[in-house]
Symmetry: C2
Subunit: 220 residues, 2 copies
Amino acid sequence: MSDDRGEATPGRRGGRGARERILRAADRLFYAEGINATGMERLTDVAQVSKRTFYQHFPSKNALVEEYLHRLDTIAAPPRERALARADLLPRDRLLALFADDPPAPTDPADPAGPADPAVGGRRLRGCPFHNAAVETAGTVPAVERAVIRHKAAFTRLLAETAQAAGAPDPAALGRQLAVLFEGATALATSLNDPAPLADARAAAAALIDTALTRPRRAG
Amino acid sequence: MSDDRGEATPGRRGGRGARERILRAADRLFYAEGINATGMERLTDVAQVSKRTFYQHFPSKNALVEEYLHRLDTIAAPPRERALARADLLPRDRLLALFADDPPAPTDPADPAGPADPAVGGRRLRGCPFHNAAVETAGTVPAVERAVIRHKAAFTRLLAETAQAAGAPDPAALGRQLAVLFEGATALATSLNDPAPLADARAAAAALIDTALTRPRRAG
DNA sequence: GTCAAGGTAGACCGGTCGTTGTACTTCTGT
DNA sequence: ACAGAAGTACAACGACCGGTCTACCTTGAC
């Protein structure tokens, strides 16, 4: 937050960007291999940063975890959630696109992180990074818990707004139900390491949406 | 599995049951605090067992994890899942009882495992132990992954059977959808540390069930 | 009483964790 | 050219990890 020395002087190339590499490595490793399972050795190795440099940018590993989560829902939304922002779809289709099983990001050409990506290799499904962080920390890190709650609330709110745009009589309720469905599809796909639940969730979502749009309103 | 020395000689008191205490401690700690977060020191301390004794019963911590998961879905089903077996309810109500938010076990008098339960103390929501194990191990322990898949498949099958008993035209599809809903309610409740999503899931389940029972059949 | 079986406590092992320290090497702006 | 920031390599710290070991106690059959 306070050591952004390159921000005010546009002429500089921004140093050598150790911090950015660290955050990129955290993005990959914390998500793919787990937060606890990722040691500092491996993290600094992947980030191509010495441990000393790491601790000049972050006071602790936990601080990096918090920044990792913070970036996830403020800077770059996961590709799946981005479906809700697609202007080329009707609101109802935006909601359903959440559960599409085709890869949502068709090779963004403006991403310079290319060479770092294919080294991962594993294509194992890993679910929601916020939920994973909550499970891994088991409530022992308040900042993580807060970040998770904030993200889930924002996502549910976004669903509710889209539900409202679709004309749902009780958009908040439909948004919450779709949030549960999405969470379940993600979690179950992770547990089974199989994306099949997404299709079931999509069918269920369609039924819920159509029911909500057809009938006037129901009591919870 | 193979060292049950007390089984053939009924005259003996069966030792002091170290193995059982170990498994009970694993039940509590692995679930409430996480598998990785639970060290052997703490585990043997809670089980009131010396480390030496532990390693006479289990070859490794991982072996205990596997046995812990194996017991969970063969010996004692979690209280919530037990709702599906209640004979006093109609099939449809059994499905909905899964999502009830009142404590499901009204002090079963025939359960000798009573004193172990309330000692947990922490009331933090922790979700599905199988899913948590899958997240914590991140696919690095094949036996865990197999146990998780087996459990989820059995649970989905049970849901489908109940859906069939309720008269659903495509019970397998409805079972899978309800499985996603349940997983989502559990996961979201964990992330938020708030049981509210269960109510949303219940409403969604009711809608899905009624839709399935009313309309003839839908394509996935 | 003896003795093996099964239990206990807890020091100890090598390894890894997150973290810090020492000493050295780039790069960059003036 | 030079100051100094930013980076590097790498040894080491204390703490804890899963796991092993020694030494002693308790029980029950003979």
